[in-house]
Subunit: 225 residues, 2 copies
Amino acid sequence: MGMERTTYHHGNLRQALIEAALELALARGPEGVSVREAARRVGVSPGAPFRHFPDRRALMTAVAQEATERLRIEVRHAVRPADRSALRRLAALGRGYLRWAERHPAHFRIVSARDQIDVETSPGLLRGMLAGRRETEDTVRAAQAEGDIDPAHDTQQLALLARACVYGLARMRLDGHLPQWGVAPGDETRATEAALALLIDLMARAPNAPGQASVSASRPRATRA
Amino acid sequence: MGMERTTYHHGNLRQALIEAALELALARGPEGVSVREAARRVGVSPGAPFRHFPDRRALMTAVAQEATERLRIEVRHAVRPADRSALRRLAALGRGYLRWAERHPAHFRIVSARDQIDVETSPGLLRGMLAGRRETEDTVRAAQAEGDIDPAHDTQQLALLARACVYGLARMRLDGHLPQWGVAPGDETRATEAALALLIDLMARAPNAPGQASVSASRPRATRA
DNA sequence: ACCTGAACACCGTTCAAGT
DNA sequence: ACCTGAACACCGTTCAAGT
């Protein structure tokens, strides 16, 4: 009887709604989330959520922010073991992203569902996304400094290219494009990671100024699959 | 009085509905399309569309097929002027795709809206997508044969990588990710095409077996932006 | 054969009224 | 301050009945 959760209904509806929505997104995809159903699951009337979120988009945006935070944590874990060279960290960064998208498709989808969320209105979301970019760019720059990537290339452009590849691979997998690109069922993880390794490999080859013997020594064996 | 369009209502509802839905998608995005509204615009009762499409997804899939056909036409146009070398054709292919996505965001979104369409049930859609893959792979293979891309790399993997980059760039632009990646407003076209050019440039560098002097001669000046 | 129009079970959102 | 519950204007989908 001594339950302390119930100011009026049960403390903070806001967080409960975010969690309910996240569960719904997990079960039926982002567009399967309905405010009414989230309210129902949390035991509250259909109008109640609108006291905490101006509209459905705001709820979805809050869910996306939570998902982004979990992404950052998971990707950071993937990178740690491979910090011998910046180029390898870059590869690990990409693999971490791919694996997160694979393991949490609902989170990935909601984070990239431009039509369901409002990135601009969420400082937390923006911060998380900028952190991802900063980490990528810093790693690319370090790899250039270490001589593994041609310093003549623009760092920002390399980072954008890397992200586009990884994001594209993750989306192609999720959007079911891979079968049409010759990837056998069950082979998606290997194929997408091989494509990423190929990109890293291409980035590592042929610096503009020849004579950097250290490059091939630290070049990862990327296309071993 | 002598109008010949009206077997019962006006000939073929099916095509009229597809066009109405396409217009709706253009105006309010794929998920802004409602079967009822399409029926209304075409002057027919809410239940009528279900005589031609089993459900909303089927209508959206038909719209996606129409959009894919237009994509193929537009991309083919982009390629023709640049057929001097296979590597340049590959770049043109990518640019054509990017430009199509830029000019017809609604078409691009509906074609890649896995949650709104059913690719497997549409032979026409599947055919269009496979044609896109075949063209990419053939061009990569030709570039390898011409010595512009290292023949040691797997053709399918190169093609997948190229598509992932281009698809990823197009989606990042549409999903509003570019501002967070250091791309100034108005600079999206230049930035995405530069990233694509960078990829082509990376692909063109450093064949495994050295001593192919012809390579640098036919290598496009990719990163001139 | 093809369409109507009413019906059903849902939505998001608003707003008076309650506590 | 926060929630209820009825209301409004929408959905997708079904199905008898019409032509």
